[in-house]
Amino acid sequence: MNSLIKSTKFLKKTNIIRSYCTKTNNNNNTNITKNVLSEIEKEKLKRQIIERIIRVDHAGEFGAARIYEGQLAVLANTKEGPLIREMADQEKEHQAKFNQLIYEKRVRPTILSPIWNVAGFGLGYVSALMGKEAAMAVTVAVETVISDHYNDQLRQLNDAGIDDKELKETIKKFRDDELEHMHIGIEHDAELAPLYKPFSELVKVGTKTAIWLSTRV
């Protein structure tokens, strides 16, 4: 409750400063203004980093959940069904967490979620039709890219000097979950999928492209 009021006051000051500091800088090109403005720019940069991280993580967990839904549409009644269901539930748990963070941090979500909705489900569905090995190969490829990306984000937060413990702990826990999913995929014959290597690389490139787009748009 009180934090909301405090954030409101902070927002008020920030808005006013943002409206006029830039013009001041244009009028007076002196070191005096540069020193003050560099502090403001640092805060803006930190805010931008947090926004990008939460936006792309939110999109990523949404896409991952959709991939598992696509796989379940085909493999729900097979031996691997309960395992995929478990991983899907975990992704939905991650998604709920980032839904909450998007609201709390006032972050703009990505505009591409309708595309990830269809693309994720399609990827999961088609790979599952190719057999359970291909489905597991997709899981391994996607979770590998996501785990690496979580590590990059933790490094980014440290480099920028952002001390948001809740966000860091969340990213660490989810990264470990994704690594576990990757291991599950490998244990269940992911590498036995036909054309595993090129198929895996193709999925990885697609995932990285989605990450890059969701960070910005």
Binding site: T8, L11, N15, K23, N35, I102, R106
Partner: protein
């Protein structure tokens, strides 16, 4: 500092002459008067500068003493600059920002008389004891800065009012549905422009001007984002964009409706807002129903393919 003021006064002078042909004769007269004064007096540089400022700003003679005092203060500030410490640098920036805000705040008192124009800002500067050219620190278009300041201020005030109402012990908003909260927020925001309703079309024109739209858009986006946030909307998919876009359209149309509303206490505008918010909620629910239907159909289709 003085040279900067002179440059800005020159630009103001040129702009005024170009904008109004009717006052050409007056300008010629002023020029002749200035030339006469220049020939007669053996002024020092300081006095010549003072006369120039007086000429361009057309101040009342009573302001002479204040202007001299300001000049002395400017010199003192220049001497003290090398001695400033980093903390004082921050103070200087804050003082400049506060001066801008004070000027803009005072200018609002003259909006109903002079409109959203640089003339209102000039009047505010005079009242505060500054020469009218002080408005130059606001940028090239002080009228636009005035309108933008008012919009930003209203958005901030709205958020403070709603968050206070939400968190107060009386729980003023706890009994209201989300729909009612949106209606209340829109009505509060629209009532903030009541004092200037007669001149508001000028402000809307300034804010919507193509060269200003880039700076004006964030304030509108902030407004709709604040409203949805404070009514507790937690959507985070494409609905996020749909709701904000719809609310922007709704608020803009309500503002335009209010301009031509002559009913007692703008009761027609409030009814307009109520009806449009109801339509908005229906649209969102309809969209969600369509999505559910498509989802069910798709699942059935996939099941058939599988078999």
């Amino acid at each position: 500092m003085i040279s900067n003021i002179l440059k800005k006064s020159n630009s103001l002078f040129l702009r005024s002459t170009l904008s109004s042909n009717k006052f050409t004769n007056v300008t010629i007269l002023r020029n002749s008067l200035f030339l006469n004064n220049n020939n007669n007096d053996n002024n020092t540089n300081i006095k010549q500068t003072y006369n120039k400022i007086n000429f361009f700003s057309t101040t009342v003679p009573n302001q002479n003493e204040k202007i001299e005092l300001k000049q002395e203060q400017i010199k003192q500030e220049q001497q003290q600059q090398p001695e400033q410490q980093p903390e004082q640098q921050t103070n200087k920036i804050n003082n400049e920002i506060e001066l801008k805000i004070k000027i803009l705040e005072n200018s609002l008192k003259y909006v109903n008389s002079y409109g959203w124009t640089s003339e209102a800002v000039s009047k505010a500067c005079i009242e505060m004891g500054y020469p009218p050219i002080t408005q130059g620190i606001l940028g090239e278009d002080s009228a636009y800065e005035l309108a933008l300041y008012f919009v930003t201020k209203c958005n901030t005030d709205l958020m403070i009012k709603l968050s206070d109402a939400e968190n107060s012990e009386q729980q003023l908003l706890s009994g209201l549905s989300k729909k009612e909260k949106v209606k209340l927020a829109l009505k509060l925001r629209l009532s903030m422009i009541k004092p200037f309703i007669g001149r508001w079309s000028e402000a809307m024109q300034l804010l919507a001007n193509p060269k200003n739209i880039v700076n004006s858009s964030p304030s509108m986006l902030t407004l709709v984002d604040n409203i949805w946030y404070l009514v507790g909307d937690k959507s985070s998919d494409f609905d996020w964009y749909a709701k904000r876009g719809l609310l922007i359209a709704l608020y803009t149309s309500a503002e335009l409706f209010m301009l031509s509303d002559t009913s007692v206490d703008h009761s027609n505008t409030w009814r307009f807002v109520d009806d449009r918010v109801d339509d908005l909620i229906k649209t969102i629910k309809f969209k969600n129903d369509i999505e559910e239907t498509v989802g069910i159909t798709l699942n059935t289709f996939l099941q058939k393919i599988k078999k």
